[in-house]
Assembly symmetry: C2
Homo-oligomer: 471 residues x 2
């Protein structure tokens, strides 16, 4: 189909005001936050801004009939190329569909459209003393649609798990334009075991099986109190041992974060007033619950941590907590500071390692970084073994770019070797396709069969998740 | 295939000592705990006791080639006919495969075979100060394989959710005999978003998509303390309001159970020393956490509950907690006592209602019971809207049997009408098949497509979940 007739058709379906076709616009939509999208330019042919299920259904009917690829997109804050159009076609921008349709406080659930930004949802829930527990870190960017599509987790997964377990139901437009509702067509139930679990077939499918147009989410009563503990370790093993001992003591922190020596250095460079002493690792624990519970766990936590750590500090007062959390909060922006004029790129950045092997993984990642002569800042959700490794490079230096790709490859391989996963929360997208076979063996064949059943013409977000020939 | 040659083939594959063929044995396996299996006799042709993945794979290859139905079975404690062979063929008894393969405490997970009984798993975890949170009530019977296949939840789902969210990975024998591992072929990761979520396609599929031969479960640090509160209400609405207010106060109890007036009566008849005063409803709350947390929530809980309830009692001492919990504990056995010589049957017994509508549902269920002149004892997991309605009848009375079936039908319809589900935790099995279309609309068509992809010859536990022609 010619480009003009495709655009004309989209204008007819969605209204001309919602259709973008200029080269500059297409260029904008060729990026997400991945390293990959900076290296390989993947542009859509047309962008449609949509906030209507019936319109999306018509677009999908048309795309299905004409075998045109469709890529759904939220905030574009993903780090795997998941929302850039790998094979041209139509890009559906759902970020504008940011309606919180209903806060059904009495049934502990909310109904939202896919474009709702995470922080706004929690703001809206606050007056009801409710909250949506998963926190992707990128709370001011990430959309609920993106979180559901990637099964995001982030800072609080240790205690509260991932997005998947909060999704009670979905409205989904299938590749052929049919609209279904999962979890019961008119359900407000908090649990049901009726039928196979269609909901979780779309959660984490990264838009490769259908377009999520509405999400019914379970929410929880908001804990009354919080406490933050920070501690420094001179040996990586000690930080790992400490995490295990905290669990053994019966404490389930809402979050356990780690900054390694490079991340500490980056934080200090970015905010010299933080003035964190030199150490191999910094651990940050967040405890939540009622006030006496937080105080109790805080005391117990300090007892455990002081055995192996230095500079242990525990705070329950708001300003001090904010201060202590700052080292973790700034790390995304700070990491690039470890090298003059360099940039932090997202490559091999969210592997998961079995808890017991986290110290070993940290050492191996440092060795890999050394081998390639690339600075890698390491931090992450150590409470569930989810590590963020941030290569700091000059993206204009082709040699460094090549070395970074090789480094990321070795980090991915390391994750599989240690019994972990190449992606704990960011998804497969384009960049982890090559590891699908190694990670899943013949289970991948079943995934492919199911994908074929759901999307027989292969038009839904092609080029993502599923390995290409020879990969 | 003739019966003798089928049995001979099974003996060849699994060893003669593991194959049952006598009529008495077949009769035994024609029952689960459902009302249905007492009314309609559904017998297998051959029973194979199996504890080996390779053997199961060979059985499935043979069954696939010869289009012979295969029904997997755990303890047979299900209440929907899910584990009785609706269409003859081979019954695989997995209850003997009760090996806890590994407690990997450092990675907060366990590897078990499907026949492990729930209470034994938690006993084995206890020395590690870990626990598997879902508690199906039938803890001394239910197997982990059955719990995963039904996505069980039970007493602690309010706080800890259902079985699904603890399943990190599965080994599954597919209908054609192929063996896959979901969640990563050699993974010990606590989280991964690599690929579509195959794991949760088998969780809750009631054995209609494959045979679960191994389960990798996430476990949690065990809370140090518990508290139990009981309270009586003269108005059903007050019990409903109280539950909502507890959530609004930021309290997340590990369990909230209800006994209605008939259940209170039954408990008193069964154990006169309980001596519960006459009331419309009794609520039981379980709070867990560290000791100060439990005490804090206990105080707050009492303040809230005393507004509307009488006979409020709070206990944290072990013997007293056991005593308070007794009214709930005995109800399964006690309910039949409300009518001389009668039996409690499982029909329409686990609907889920949106929290807000629970009082309304309780009233309507009482009206339905009155209409049919059947005594219905009502209790259940009111914290997530999951009600257990127990008809107390003489199963030899054909008139009462017929009325019970009609009553169960109205209860199922009521659940759907109120925005709930026909099954909160027991599954569809045979008995909720007729409600699948009403509950899921066209989403059922997608389920059927996926089922066809997974089981093209329809040999996996036929007659379960999927509506028959005209249903």
């Amino acid at each position: 189909m010619g480009l003009n007739s495709l655009a004309a058709k989209m204008m007819e379906i969605a209204g001309p005001e919602n259709v973008l076709t200029s080269e500059l616009d297409m260029y904008t939509y060729s990026y997400d936050s991945s390293f990959h999208s900076g290296l390989v330019q993947l542009m859509p042919e047309v962008v449609v801004k949509v906030k209507n299920t019936a319109v999306i259904a018509r677009i999908m009917q048309f795309a299905f009939a004409n075998e045109i690829p469709v890529t759904p997109r939220g905030a574009g804050s993903g780090q795997t190329g998941g929302s850039v159009p790998a094979n041209k076609g139509i890009l559906l921008d759902l970020s504008c569909w940011d309606m919180i349709e209903e806060i059904d406080a009495k049934n502990l659930q909310v109904m939202v459209r896919p474009g709702v930004v995470h922080s706004r949802l929690n703001q809206a829930l606050d007056p009801y003393n409710l909250f949506f527990p998963p926190d992707p870190g990128s709370t001011k960017m990430a959309t609920i649609g993106g979180m559901v599509s990637n099964n995001s987790s982030g800072l609080r997964a240790v205690k509260y798990g991932n997005t998947s377990q909060y999704v009670l139901g979905l409205e989904v437009v299938l590749p052929d334009g049919e609209v279904i509702v999962t979890g019961g067509i008119s359900s407000r139930a908090m649990k049901s075991v009726s039928g196979i679990d269609l909901t979780r077939l779309f959660v984490g499918a990264e838009g490769t099986c259908g377009i999520i147009t509405k999400v019914r989410l379970k929410v929880l009563p908001k804990p009354a109190a919080r406490g933050i503990l920070t501690a420094l370790f001179d040996r990586l093993e000690d930080s790992g041992e400490t995490v295990l001992e905290v669990f053994q003591a019966g404490i389930l922190p809402s979050g356990i974060e780690i900054l390694d020596s490079t991340a500490i250095k980056a934080a200090n460079l970015f905010k010299p007033e933080l003035n964190i002493p030199v150490a191999e690792a910094m651990l940050l624990f967040e405890i939540d619950g009622n006030r006496p519970s937080v105080e109790h766990d805080g005391m117990l936590l300090q007892d455990i941590i002081k055995k192996r750590a230095k500079n242990v500090e525990w705070a329950t007062e708001k300003d001090r907590m904010t201060k202590l959390w700052e080292a973790r909060g700034v790390i995304g922006s700070a990491s690039a500071r470890v090298k003059e004029g360099a940039t932090r790129v997202f490559a091999g950045e969210d592997i998961t390692i079995p808890l017991e092997k986290v110290p070993q993984a940290l050492k191996r990642i440092k060795e890999i970084a050394k081998k390639y002569g690339i600075i890698v800042v390491i931090y992450g959700h150590v409470g569930d073994g989810n590590m963020h490794t941030a290569p700091i490079i000059d993206p204009a230096d082709r040699n460094e770019v090549q070395k970074t790709l090789e480094l990321a490859h070795e980090i991915h391989r390391l994750a599989i070797e240690l019994g972990g996963s190449t992606t704990g929360e960011h998804g497969v997208g384009i960049v982890r396709r090559p590891y699908m076979r190694e990670e899943h063996g013949n289970a991948l064949d079943l995934m492919l069969k199911l994908k074929k059943t759901l999307d027989p013409r292969g038009i839904m977000n092609p080029g993502k998740i599923w390995p290409l020939e020879g990969e």
